[in-house]
């Protein structure tokens, strides 16, 4: 299990959708959890430096060499599209660059990324090995139902069981990364209903009907 994953399930479920909404939450995960991720404050070699151009658009591989080979890319794409398949007007994860993001993430030199790299690369190997053991073929050659059955199993919280525990940790991290890569794009933002990043002449506050519906009409007066 990822030792820095804060999810502690004890019959109750803590729902998260932890956006990097405040400065504090933007911190590297090791720090945000109040722990001292080893080396989190040490200068990093081979990163983007402390004064990168903030205006220029970047693509995966601009700053550090990528990791995935062809087989890993294919496998990551299959898993990403099981996690977020196309639906209606919303495209699949792999079609909007999420695999590039995964590759960029596991290839970065920062402490969080170095830790995640091992979990993701080990997990991809485990999935392939398990697929060969169960279905007699590598994961990308398995049938759709075989592919999904393995994901379904990995998705379950399996506390107390030895081996699948790490598969669950892998799947949860992969899911978080795929979803992060997806919902931080304009397409993903539209999907969840983020509206903004456009200059407005006036800030209107919440819609009047919403204020009524939640019984908050008295709260708008100061």
């Amino acid at each position: 299990m990822n030792p820095n994953n804060p999810v502690r399930i004890d019959r109750r479920v803590a729902i998260k959708w932890m956006l990097a909404v405040s400065a504090g939450a933007m911190l590297a995960r090791g720090r945000a959890l109040g722990g001292a991720a080893a080396g989190a404050d040490a200068p990093v070699e081979a990163g983007y430096g402390t004064d990168p151009n903030l205006l220029k658009p970047y693509k995966a591989g601009d700053y550090w060499a990528l990791t995935f080979n062809q087989a890993q890319r294919r496998q990551a794409a299959v898993l990403a599209d099981i996690i977020l398949p196309a639906e209606g007007a919303s495209p699949s994860a792999s079609s909007i660059g999420v695999v590039d993001f995964l590759d960029e993430w596991v290839s970065a030199p920062y402490p969080d990324n170095v830790r995640d790299r091992k979990i993701i690369l080990d997990g991809l190997s485990w999935v392939d090995d398990e697929s060969v053991r169960r279905f007699g073929k590598p994961y990308t050659s398995a049938s759709d139902s075989e592919k999904i059955s393995l994901c379904e199993e990995m998705s379950r919280s399996t506390q107390g069981q030895p081996d699948p525990g790490s598969a669950h940790a892998f799947f949860r991290l992969l899911r978080d990364l795929v979803a992060s890569g997806y919902y931080t794009t304009p397409v993903g933002m539209r999907d969840i209903g983020y509206v903004g990043n456009m200059p407005l002449a006036k800030f209107e506050g919440p819609p009047a009907e919403l204020i009524q519906k939640l019984g908050l009409a008295d709260e708008v007066k100061w």
Partner: protein, 600 residues
């Protein structure tokens, strides 16, 4: 006068200002508007928010979806460059490796310093905050009172532009009529927090933030700020007219190209430059203040980072505005036969009583806020409301078990997703994916609230910085070694935050929250995390018990002043920036006066 390099430094200046953030910016502004010739030394590079702010960039255009890294701790798009808790080549050390004893030192090596990325929260200290020892017997009283600083709070608020309201709450001062700008409307989660807080006796009022909710009155304000100074009025009017009101999009932390919020680089430095009285020397790492045999400061020795060479600049007055700990470092490194323990240090108190803000936060998911109709909650790019400390009476009566209070900041709503998002396990148990994930992402997005406590730390003898006897930075300058210790007051304050936030989140209808760790020692964020470090050159009324007098003038050398948070004798829960600027303005006025009288 302009942006210069070491070759074009003029012979001598009226004032050398070390640092360009809230303190250095305000000092240089006030001095140059009144005709003083100023050289500003900045350890970082020149930086222009008008051309460098990544305002509308989306995370998919950044490495790692803009996730924070040790090189860009607050995310790729954060305005800070060459800054963070680790600056390459410029280390610091900690005396203890024990948990809870370490201090993390944030620096921003860039023109404008940390004002480029700060939260813009602009709260006045109240009357109690200047006399805490008189109130509860702990810490130190300042040698000045709220009444001494109030006129400068007024001026700073008029100059930079602060939105908020006057609520007349205890120790939460009102501003004079017409000074504050109207606050933006509250977001839906903020309204819900206000309603549910009432049942717990917790007030929620509009935040005070340095963001222009409407354009500044450039016709009336300059005459109020610079009476009898036609040139200053003309320059300021022109500059204010060029600042645009907020367009209700993009986070302030990225910097503001339209100059709708306060950064030293958009508000203080442009008019100061327009006076023709300011030279700015970037990449100049101040090493020490030099003194003559009579014990008067002659100028500053610095390293030109471009060449690594040492240079000296002369001035009649030296103002240290490098940030509390960097200022302490310069003073301690300014050793001479007259001052073997460092300049201003005859009390032995330089570097002592460093304080940060006490920080902890807790959040939860609010079913009432699920699946809301899409609407923009970008707003003013930060908090619209906050909770000032509300239990002064209970605290004074000894009912709380800790002596000083905290205010509460809010994060709610539908911000632009950025960086690594942790979804946790969904309501179905296990890791959701596929159609379930899509459904949950739409349903839960924007339904979270996080309360952040920002509390007062009482100065203590175990929290200080000193020169490390062995380690030097890449310029050969001895570095700081930090010592840190929280007292029970801070730990109990955090326990109170955790209980309050958890009750409040429950009152908002949350049913799925991780319970806070009952051990507040684990919840308190390490010293330096909140980046509100002050002290280290505290002001007082006696040379034996303080580093500066009530004018932020060092007792030992009368032409050396400390304009930054170093002089704070206490660190109220109120974020320090507004007070730093008010004190810097007051100090600059004093310097101008003393220069005119020939006293410096």
């Amino acid at each position: 006068m302009a942006l210069i390099d070491p070759g074009s430094v003029s012979q001598t200046y009226d004032v050398i200002v070390v640092g360009s953030g809230a303190a250095g910016g305000q000092t240089a502004y006030t001095l140059t508007m009144d005709g003083a010739r100023v050289l500003m030394l900045e350890a970082g590079r020149n930086y222009d928010p008008r051309t460098e702010s990544p305002m509308f960039q989306t995370p998919d255009a950044a490495p790692l979806r803009a996730q924070g890294t040790p090189e860009k701790p607050f995310g790729f798009f954060d305005a800070t460059i060459d800054g963070g808790w680790a600056v390459p080549g410029e280390p610091y050390t900690n005396a203890s490796r024990e948990s809870g004893r370490d201090f993390k030192w944030w620096r921003a090596r860039m023109l404008g310093g940390r004002t480029n990325h700060w939260g813009r929260i602009s709260l006045r200290n109240g009357p109690y905050d200047f006399k805490p020892h008189s109130r509860d017997g702990l810490g130190f009283d300042w040698p000045i009172s709220y009444e001494d600083v109030a006129p400068y709070y007024d001026k700073v608020e008029m100059l930079i532009g602060v939105y908020g309201t006057n609520e007349g709450l205890e120790n939460t001062p009102n501003s004079p009529e017409g000074v504050l700008l109207p606050p933006p409307k509250a977001r839906i989660g903020e309204l819900l927090a206000r309603q549910r807080g009432r049942g717990l006796g917790i007030p929620v009022i509009p935040a005070h933030r340095a963001v222009l909710s409407r354009p500044l009155d450039y016709q009336a304000l300059p005459a109020k700020l610079h009476p009898g100074n036609a040139k200053a009025q003309r320059i300021l009017a022109e500059d204010m007219a060029n600042r645009v009101a907020c367009f209700w999009a993009t986070p302030c932390g990225r910097g503001c190209a339209i100059r709708a919020n306060y950064q030293s680089t958009t508000v203080h430095i442009p008019p100061a430059m327009a006076t023709g009285n300011l030279d700015i020397l970037p990449r100049a790492m101040a090493r020490e203040v030099t003194v003559d045999p009579a014990g008067k400061a002659t100028g500053v020795t610095y390293i030109d980072k471009a060449t690594g060479r040492e240079h000296h600049v002369s001035g009649r007055v030296v103002v240290l505005a490098a940030g509390a700990c960097e200022t302490a470092r310069i003073l301690l490194n300014s050793k001479s036969s007259l001052f073997p323990g460092g300049l201003g240090n005859s009390s032995g108190l330089v570097g002592k009583y460093v304080m940060d803000t006490v920080g902890a936060s807790w959040g939860g998911q609010i079913p009432l806020l699920e699946s809301l109709p899409p609407h923009s909650e970008d707003g003013a790019g930060g908090d619209h409301v906050y909770t000032p400390w509300w239990l002064y009476k209970e605290q004074l009566a000894g009912k709380l078990g800790f002596a000083r209070g905290y205010h509460v900041e809010f994060t709610t709503g539908r911000q632009m997703p950025e960086g690594f998002i942790e979804f946790g396990d969904g309501p179905r148990g296990g890791t959701s994916y596929g159609a379930n994930l899509r459904e949950e992402a739409r349903r839960f997005y924007g339904s979270f609230v996080t309360f952040t406590g920002r509390g007062e730390m009482i100065p203590n003898a175990d929290s200080y910085c000193e020169l490390d006897p062995k380690v030097v930075d890449k310029w050969g300058i001895p570095v700081l070694r930090f010592n840190w210790k929280w007292s029970e007051h801070e730990i109990r304050q955090v326990a109170h935050m955790q209980r309050t936030f958890s009750d409040w989140i429950t009152a908002m209808g949350c049913t799925s929250m991780d319970r806070p760790d009952p051990d507040a020692r684990k919840a308190i964020q390490p010293g330096g995390s909140i980046i509100h470090e002050v002290g280290g050159a505290i002001m007082g009324s006696k040379p034996s018990a303080s580093v500066t007098n009530a004018w932020s003038q060092t007792w030992d050398v009368r032409n050396v002043f400390v304009a930054d948070g170093g002089v704070f004798a206490s660190n109220a829960d109120k974020n320090p920036t507004l007070t730093i600027m008010a004190l810097a303005w007051r100090t600059a006025d004093r310097i101008l006066d003393e220069l005119r009288k020939g006293n410096l």
